[in-house]
């Protein structure tokens, strides 16, 4: 708990629910008749609504990107390092919008919401949603907020995929697309990791085919395993080595199979904590959305062709030790943008923390992000 709020914090914030009752047709062909989106905003929308920035969250993210919900909060929002007064996404200049995506488990309609048709939680009946569906729902939210054109759509990892999709689906509705630690499509290895995570969840005895809410249980074990696997892929060999090495919890080997190494107990702790706070069906859905994302697919794998409609400028950033979405994946994207004659800037940031580096403010990352967003702000006159 902070004794007082840091000066560069957006302060105490509260989320707001937006209800939509016009049916939304999804990529799967299914329709959601009505749904809620949980949204947080920071800063002020200017008179001509030109200073709005959309933040898209990653796999386990949500609407609470910055600030605190109360002084009792142990930690601020998940991207507080980059959003706030004087930070790269400067809330003195921008109106920042972040939402929990459809299918999420933090207040937006998802598998753990009540299905109006049955009066029971959707569970496995909740439609699989895609990055494209999210972008569609975000555009409807923008309409509701009176935002015709975003100054920038910004996201890391799965959030970066949304920022890319925005440029293709609503080219005239964003000036800049900022794509951080992301990829234009998952590799077989990425999908394989997701499959292990899904298998861990669905094979948990408490999963009950996704209807665990009705059984009054949670597939904690499976979700914990899923998170443990995922977590390993977010870090780098070097950063794990530095944080844990081969350090033991006690002095000597115990010749058993309990958590003896620090890294084991860390992963178990992280996994357990996650399994208490995240919904297993949402985890399945988010990993599937990752798997399916491939805007080049309809163009015979030619991303440059897929990019043809884009009008915005792009900033693409990667991190040297990210092996989940390696710099090569970002470069693929950048090269397609170059071929498609889009305006793009790219930097590979040297950082030891693997994929997680996009959440950690390092000097070069902060400098570039600040310089770019400062220019976006000047462009829209704030």
């Amino acid at each position: 708990m902070p004794d007082s709020l840091p000066a560069d914090s957006v302060g105490i914030v509260s989320p707001q629910t937006y209800h939509f009752d016009t049916p939304i047709e999804l990529a799967s062909g299914r329709t959601l008749d009505s749904y809620d989106l949980m949204v947080e905003t920071y800063g002020e929308l200017n008179a001509d609504a030109s200073n709005a920035v959309l933040i898209c969250h990653a796999l386990s993210g949500h609407h609470h990107a910055a600030g605190y919900h109360s002084l009792d909060d142990r930690k601020p929002g998940w991207w507080d390092s980059c959003i706030g007064p004087g930070k790269p996404i400067d809330t003195n200049r921008f109106f920042v919008v972040c939402l929990n995506n459809l299918g999420g488990c933090h207040g937006s309609t998802g598998p753990n919401s009540l299905n109006p048709a049955t009066g029971k939680p959707y569970g496995p009946d909740f439609p699989v949603v895609t990055v494209r569906d999210w972008v569609k729902s975000q555009a409807l939210l923008a309409d509701r907020l009176g935002i015709q054109r975003w100054a920038a759509v910004v996201g890391g990892s799965l959030g970066g995929m949304q920022a890319l999709q925005w440029s293709l689906d609503y080219p005239e509705r964003l000036r800049h697309s900022v794509i951080i630690a992301s990829t234009p499509r998952l590799t077989a290895q990425n999908i394989a990791f997701n499959e292990v995570a899904r298998q861990a969840i669905t094979s948990d005895r408490e999963f009950h085919g996704g209807r665990y809410y009705e059984h009054g249980t949670l597939p904690r074990r499976g979700l914990m395993l899923a998170r443990m696997v995922g977590h390993i892929t977010y870090l780098s060999d070097a950063s794990m080595g530095e944080k844990f090495g081969r350090e033991l919890r006690e002095e000597a080997y115990k010749f058993g199979y309990d958590a003896e190494f620090q890294v084991e107990s860390y992963l178990r702790y992280q996994g357990e904590r996650f399994s208490e706070s995240f919904d297993a069906n949402t985890y399945l859905l988010m990993t599937r959305a990752l798997d399916y994302f491939d805007p080049a697919y309809e163009y015979g794998g030619d991303l440059a062709k897929a990019l043809a409609p884009a009008q915005c400028e792009f900033l693409v950033l990667s991190f040297s030790t990210d092996w989940r979405f390696a710099p090569e994946r970002s470069e693929e994207m950048v090269n397609a943008m170059i071929s498609a004659r889009k305006k793009v800037s790219y930097a590979e940031i040297d950082a030891p923390w693997g994929h997680d580096a996009f959440l950690i403010p390092t000097p070069r990352y902060t400098d570039i992000f600040t310089a770019y967003m400062d220019r976006v702000a000047r462009e829209v006159g704030v």
Binding site: E331, I338, R341, V344, S345, Y346, R364, D367, A371, Y372
Partner: protein, 201 residues
């Protein structure tokens, strides 16, 4: 206006798609975007320069010519490929020239003349590696690992079948002086070449 920028901008047509190899802090591209409505990218590896480009709104890509080349650029996709004061700093200038004229219709190259009289004089008199305004480094820390003279460059172009469309010779302050025009390889400090593989005017 810096005289070299003035010379270069005269060779860039409005709306040209431009690639700037080793674009530094983006001064030239920024200038061409504003004065010539040029589009395109700069390639750079210096982190501070990259950040400065981004704050200027110059599209910059972190890419090392020595290790990555220009493989990610399509044939003929640029009207002009620029390389100011960087040719002498790459490992294989000959290959870079080939690549420049593969991805661009035309190249504009500037580099310091190692046959400039002060450098010749300095080496002859002191017996030590010359330094000058255009080459302000020690032999052991210089990024300029492939120094050449105007004559060397022109010989390489001839050998490669590259046509020199124009050449301007200036001094260390990029001033175009009559002395340098008179005897360029001796009196010229920096040259700005406009090169192409195309035969049509």
């Amino acid at each position: 206006m810096r005289p070299d920028l003035d010379i270069i901008q005269q060779w860039v047509k409005p709306g040209d798609h431009v690639l700037d190899l080793g674009c530094g802090d983006g001064t030239l591209l920024d200038f061409l975007q504003r004065e010539r409505q040029a589009t395109g990218f700069g390639l750079e590896i210096n982190p501070d320069h990259i950040t400065t480009c981004m704050s200027k709104g110059v599209a910059v890509i972190e890419q090392n010519l020595d290790t990555q080349g220009l493989d990610n650029f399509d044939d003929g996709m640029f009207d002009i490929v620029l390389m100011t004061q960087a040719l002498q700093a790459v490992r294989r200038p000959d290959r870079v020239l080939d690549e420049m004229l593969r991805v661009g219709r035309e190249g504009i190259v500037t580099f310091p003349n190692f046959a400039y009289w002060r450098l010749r004089w300095g080496l002859a008199l002191s017996g030590r590696m010359p330094e000058s305004e255009a080459l302000p480094y020690k032999w052991y820390n210089t990024p300029n690992i492939r120094l050449c003279t105007f004559k060397d460059f022109e010989a390489l172009c001839r050998q490669k079948g590259i046509r020199i469309k124009s050449r301007r010779v200036v001094d260390g302050q990029h001033q175009n002086r009559w002395t340098a025009r008179l005897w360029p390889n001796l009196l010229g400090e920096i040259a700005i070449y406009r090169i192409t593989r195309e035969n049509t005017k």
